[in-house]
Amino acid sequence: MVFKRPAKKQTEADLQSYASTVAQILLNIGIDPQQAAMPVQQGYGWNFKRGSAMVEIYIAVHEGVGYLQVLSPLIELPQANLLPLYRRLLETNLQITAAALGIHNDVVYVFHERPLEGLDSQEASNIINMIGAYADDLDDKLVQEFGGRLYGRI
């Protein structure tokens, strides 16, 4: 996972059970987990399209606790005039609920994370829809105003 590295290694069995939970959740919301699976260095990852947004899901283990991470890469940063964009991202960050905007390298993400424990598929589905909806709403607006390009698109 890009943002956090597990500090302590969880057992493979723990990870696997988290993974099958998420796979089941994906099935419930109409996504084939096998098709969506992507190779990650540690843990598990899936990616798929939800509307026009690309959604990535990871199971990451941080200090022994499993987390569900749902994120969507929005735009690749433009070459110039970054300060107004950065300011806008911070302003928007304060307005959106239950999600965060952030930058990793040269890509702007919208991101949500919560512990896996107690997660049900309804909630997971809500999170995925929420991240997808934020992404859908923000990506075009940001590109239109500040330039750059949609993540991985031309």
Partner: protein
């Protein structure tokens, strides 16, 4: 002097002026100081400009005579001599790393130009030489924000590649390695790949995916080549070669919003970036690579902490204690206009100060 003339000739051919290039190379060949191996290379380039098979064969014969150790010249000559080579089918690209070229005389040993790039954020990708002094082009997607990558060459050498510059808007990363190609691949002379022209996206193993230019009604920047390719064996970055065996660009995994087809980046755009990077290097201003945005940071060259292009913390400053450096501020001030309320030179955007957010009236 003959070296310079030869280089100018090769540059001219690569830029599409075959006639002018051939003229310069002939001038270079008149000088006795040109060593035999260079003579052979010059003759091979002349062969590139020659459409007539007999003329082409003559140049290769002379190249082999000048430098009997030039295996490439010998191989090309052999191919030209073998009956039926000119009509060889286009698809046997796999395994031999030969670009599928119906005119075998123009084909080159692609394996010498392609590398595998390992250690990026995703899986392995491909790359290829874009300068005689060891610059390799790959995609930003392959390289990610790494500063160092492993580059495997066809002869088994495994080298450390230093990422020196990236152009994320073009999905292009330049990597410096300590190795040189025998010569640069000939590039397409046309500024634009023709509609539906056959194209081959090469993988570092030498395998190729066949596709073609995909005509589109969309108004597209000239540096993007739409293709019919939808699947690659790696993360991209390999050379895109046309039917003539000429380099048209680099395959990427970028798509449009409405289709799954990949776009390639034109070789002309890649060359412009290489020149831009080399010019910055030659200017003498100390710079350092910013992995976050790909820029050559002047702030980094000065030992300051943050990239002036993206604001990212530079690698050399990552694990040290950082503090405000007043003399560095000028690099980060984006405006000559100061805020009427707080006097900051952060800049005014939509009539509001970017520092204090107050309106400017």
């Amino acid at each position: 002097m003959p070296f310079r003339t030869l280089q100018l000739g090769i540059d001219a051919i690569q830029a599409g002026s075959a006639h002018e290039g051939a003229r310069l190379i002939r001038i270079a060949l008149k000088h006795d100081e040109l060593p035999a191996d260079m003579k052979a290379i010059a003759l091979m380039w002349l062969a590139e400009t020659e459409a007539n098979p007999t003329g082409k064969r003559n140049y290769y014969t002379q190249a082999v005579a000048a430098d009997p150790n030039n295996a490439d010249a010998r191989a090309r000559l052999m191919r030209l001599m073998s009956p039926g080579s000119v009509t060889a089918p286009a698809q046997q690209a796999a395994a031999t790393a030969q670009p599928a070229a119906p005119q075998a005389g123009r084909s080159i040993n692609l394996a010498e130009h392609v590398a595998s790039v390992v250690g990026g954020a995703r899986g392995a990708g491909s790359g290829f030489f874009v300068s005689q002094d060891g610059l390799i082009a790959t995609t930003r997607r392959v390289a990610g924000a790494k500063e160092r990558l492993t580059v495997d060459l066809h002869d088994g050498r495994q080298l450390i590649g230093l990422v020196v510059r990236a152009y994320p808007e073009l999905d292009l990363t330049l990597i410096q390695i300590d190795a040189a190609p025998p010569f640069l691949m000939p590039i397409v002379p046309e500024p634009r790949v023709a509609d539906e022209a056959a194209l081959y996206a090469f993988h570092y193993t030498g395998e190729a995916v066949r596709g073609s230019q995909r005509p589109t009604r969309r108004v597209l920047a000239v540096h993007w080549i739409p293709t019919t390719i939808k699947q690659l064996k790696d993360e991209g970055g390999g050379p895109l070669i046309d039917e003539r065996g000429m380099l048209a660009g680099m395959i990427t995994k970028n798509t449009s919003q409405t289709s799954e087809y990949y776009y390639a980046l034109s070789i002309q755009a890649i060359r412009a970036c290489v020149e831009n990077y080399q010019a910055a290097l030659a200017s003498g201003t100390r710079r350092s690579y910013c992995p976050a945005c790909g820029a050559s940071s002047i702030a980094g060259g000065q030992g300051y902490f943050y990239c002036e292009t993206c604001g990212g913390t530079l690698p050399a400053a990552m694990h040290i204690s950082r503090y405000p450096i007043p003399q560095a501020a000028v690099l980060y001030e984006t405006s000559t206009t100061r805020c009427t309320k707080c006097a900051s030179a952060a800049g005014i955007y939509q009539s509001k100060c970017l520092r204090c957010g107050q309106g400017q009236y």
